[in-house]
Amino acid sequence: MSDLFSFNGAEGAGWSQPEPMLGDDAAGPTVPEGLVRSRLPEWPRASEPELVRHYTWLSNRNFGIDTGFYPLGSCTMKHNPRLNERIVQLPGIDRIHPLQPEHQIQGLLAIFYEMQEMLATCSGMDVVTLQPVAGAQGEFAAIRCIQEFHHANGEDHRDKVIVPDSAHGTNPASASMCGYEIIEIPSADDGRLDLDALRAAVGEDTAAMMITNPSTLGLFEIEILEATRIVHDSGGQMYYDGANFNAIIGKTDPGRMGFDAVHYNLHKTFAQPHGGGGPGSGPIGVKGHLAQFLPSPIASRRESLDDDPRGVGDGHWYYWRDVGESSIGKVQQWHGNAGAVVRAWAFYRRYGSDLERMSEHAVLNSNYLRYVIMNPGPKTSKAIHAMPVEGAPADLVMHEFTLSLSPLKELNGVTGKDVAKRLLDYGYMSPTLYFPQIVPECLMIEPTETESKEVLDRFAADFHAILSEDPETITTAPHTTPVKRVDEVWAARNLVLRHPGRLTDSN
């Protein structure tokens, strides 16, 4: 065990820095009496070699895509190209301030503009802003725009947002933060959108419907056009949760499906690394009638003029366009996660007009893995205690699919969670567990386009092997991980949320 707070070197251990320019004394009076810090924080006192070893030790106790297959459904854990990490080290992104004059950040504005245009093209939207910094913030920002749209039309009585019961939790949470009441509609027996339920839910109070397509079950909503017609007829707006955008690029887009607003997850579809929980980036795109409400500002361009300062050399002058008085204002105080936008730009450039291949391979891998899991050979079949069943019956899935492990649970009490934990022993990250909540004992699996056929075959074989194992081995898993099953109840009851402090206090 390496404990950060056990490093207790001499005073001043750690980072060497130059002297303050006027000497320590001169700075003293700049803090008024009564505000001078009385006791320094009890931070560790550690040298660089100690800390390098500490964080390397920690990294060895962590699992990422680089470690192994990470089929975490809905999260699109695809490979993160290393070029993108190299690019964001350039001073032209790492060392710039969002409020620098426009002539000093022409390159950033050009990249923003290109990304806005690309996202609009791929989604069938008219205007895109890159300001929201996470998918959930994109949802929130877009629903705020819809709220202002209804307000401008004198329709403040529209106070309800409809979400399917298979929706991501962020959908109802984001709409609720905007002050909306949530109507959750049940899915049909086949897991798809239930149009009758939707018809029953819409009305004069409908502000919007939020839906992802393909759904969290990995199914394309075949009747999406009818759904958008029903909502639009009621006067509501259609919001597209872009979490599953990786499945459809170049094949269809939310614009064609009739959506009015959409968010994109640059950390899913465009390979911004997930970083243990973030950063993300959640741009939003809208149709023209919502554009005046978007967060401000948006990157724009015009033809270069003779007396413009030097630009990026493409004949254009780039600038920030203020959205105007009806804008909702800001959801992040700068221009969004510019570093994530630059990474996503570098990712998109690898594919360009071939982005469609990316989605094809994501869907190919998903269907292939589902097929090999659900069709074991006769010998394997015989050894398996109980096969999972499809989370939803379908011939085809999109980029992800769900399995229910209810048959195994009914047979010998082994739960989805047990199987998920056992997968860790085999060197895999667990799929998304118990989501969507409408599928009992659910595992949600999204392989992404960056896994080879061999990895998928091996995963299926290992999955079958687990289903053939002695129940005790599975229910007590994991066995080979840095720690064994963690007591989450103890953590919630005792709430030890920080280190108690240095063991020996030299202060």
Binding site: H79, P279, E356, K484, A492, N494
Partner: protein, 456 residues
């Protein structure tokens, strides 16, 4: 593209295994009316070499803050980040992991975030911290909504929060967006003409749900009056304080003078200004707010063999469990940047933090002196103690002064008229630990020549 898709060229083999014949078969569920017929009108794919060249060309057109005397801060720091920070945080096991839903294989990030919570807790002198917010603005906004949930029932002024008059408009705009849906009435907490809190008028805020102030203010003012604010507003009102994290190396942390929630921009620890993101907000509070907090929280626990272990906890507050009743919609946060912050804080240590704060304080004082020595330039508040930022009153429009400085290769600061129209003749000057005597000289010379120009 070729280097990203391992199954390129093997599609047929995989399709045939499933009994399909073409890639198109996979998309049979998409109705014809909404199928895209034409290829995406985008440029052709590029190789890594070509992208790198374009990135260098485009980003090379940007002006790095490090290449010139730069006095633009306004809430972000032109910091120096030790080399090990980025190198360790971007180790693949950290970089390419996601939210640690499976603690058994995520102990590294969980422990690092538990340590981060401790570092922040110590920094601001409050017992609990979360794993990060998006930035200082959403941290402030969600602190207010959190406080209203906690205090609304007993508050005399229900659904009401007061926000310092000196919170700049871009941050206030974020706060408005986040509070409007909760039906929170935002009122302005007045400051005196000298930029200090007006404790007399602050009595108006007594009994409301939350008061949000910043120490130092956006104009860099360290205000002793704030330490009396908690007494003025009362026990049933949350005092929320936004901080400059570096200042806390020499400034008393708000947890020690009555703050219930402390938020702020974590960016000075861990990452460069990065064009405004990704950065991270800190969020710390007293135990009363714990169950209404936004964001991820890591708790210590044990595994079945009794080994020390860490796990996400209090998840019942969160959107993936509570859906529309969640305390926040936050899902992806800024963990990786918080990790960079933790490594940076750990390397600084207590005395390193103090030294860093003293360096910024010294730069502030030296720059202030050099500029106020110029005839015609005054401090907006001559009596104030400043940290990192200070506001100047100029003999002309700040935009003109900044243009003049820009022509001399100096990034002079911020035109305060862009925040408050009435302050178009004021400029916000921001410094950092790296501000050099040469930088200050270049700024002072440039300002002096501009002032002379205005008098000509």
């Amino acid at each position: 593209m070729v280097d990203q898709l391992p199954n390129l060229g093997r599609e047929q083999e995989m399709l045939e295994a499933m009994g399909l014949s073409s890639m198109d078969d996979l998309f049979a569920d998409i109705p014809h009316e909404i199928r895209r017929a034409d290829p995406l009108p985008l440029p052709p794919p590029q190789s890594e070499e070509e992208i790198w060249a374009d990135a260098q060309r485009l980003l090379g057109a940007n002006f790095s803050l490090d290449d010139r005397p730069s006095f633009l801060s306004a809430g972000l720091a032109r910091n120096f980040v030790p080399s090990m920070v980025g190198m360790l945080a971007t180790r693949g096991e950290f970089l390419t992991s996601y939210t640690p839903y499976q603690p058994e294989v995520s102990q590294g990030m969980l422990q690092a975030m538990w340590e981060f919570q401790t570092l922040v807790s110590e920094l601001v002198a409050l017992p609990v911290a979360n794993v990060s917010m998006y930035d200082a603005s959403t941290a402030a906004a969600e602190a207010i909504t959190c406080a209203v949930r906690v205090h609304n029932r007993k508050a005399e002024q229900r659904n009401t929060a007061y926000v310092s008059q000196l919170v700049p408009p871009h941050r206030l705009s974020v706060i408005r967006n986040y509070t409007i849906g909760a039906g929170i009435d935002l009122r302005i907490l007045e400051h005196g003409p000298d930029g200090h809190i007006d404790l007399e008028s602050a009595t108006a805020a007594a009994g409301c749900c939350a008061v949000y102030v910043e120490q130092p203010s956006a104009l860099g003012i360290l205000d002793t009056g704030l330490t009396d604010l908690k007494d003025v507003v009362g026990e049933q009102t949350a005092l929320i304080v936004g901080v400059d994290v570096v200042s806390l190396g020499i400034v008393e942390p708000p947890g020690n003078w009555g703050a219930d929630i402390v938020v702020g921009e974590g960016q000075p620890f861990g990452i460069g200004p990065t064009g405004g993101g990704p950065i991270y907000g800190i969020f710390a509070c007293s135990e009363k707010y714990l169950r209404q907090m936004p964001g991820r929280i890591v708790g210590q626990s044990w595994d079945v063999d009794g080994n020390l272990a860490f796990t996400l906890t209090l998840s019942t507050r969160e959107q993936h469990i509570r859906r529309h009743k969640a305390t926040s919609n936050i899902c992806s946060n800024e963990t990786l940047i918080a990790l960079m912050g933790a490594i940076h804080m750990a390397l600084l240590g207590p005395e390193g933090l103090e030294r860093l704060a003293l360096r910024v304080a010294a730069s502030t004082e030296a720059t202030k002196r050099a500029l106020t020595a110029i005839d015609g330039i005054e401090l907006v508040d001559s009596g104030a103690h400043n940290f990192r930022e200070f506001a100047l009153r100029l003999p002309g429009e700040a935009t003109d002064a900044l243009k003049h400085l820009d022509g001399l290769g100096v990034l002079g600061g911020l035109d305060l008229g862009s925040w408050w129209a009435s302050m178009s003749k004021c400029m916000l000057v921001g410094v950092d630990e790296r501000t050099s005597k040469d930088d200050i000289e270049a700024l002072a010379k440039g300002m002096a020549s501009w002032v002379r120009g205005t008098q000509a």
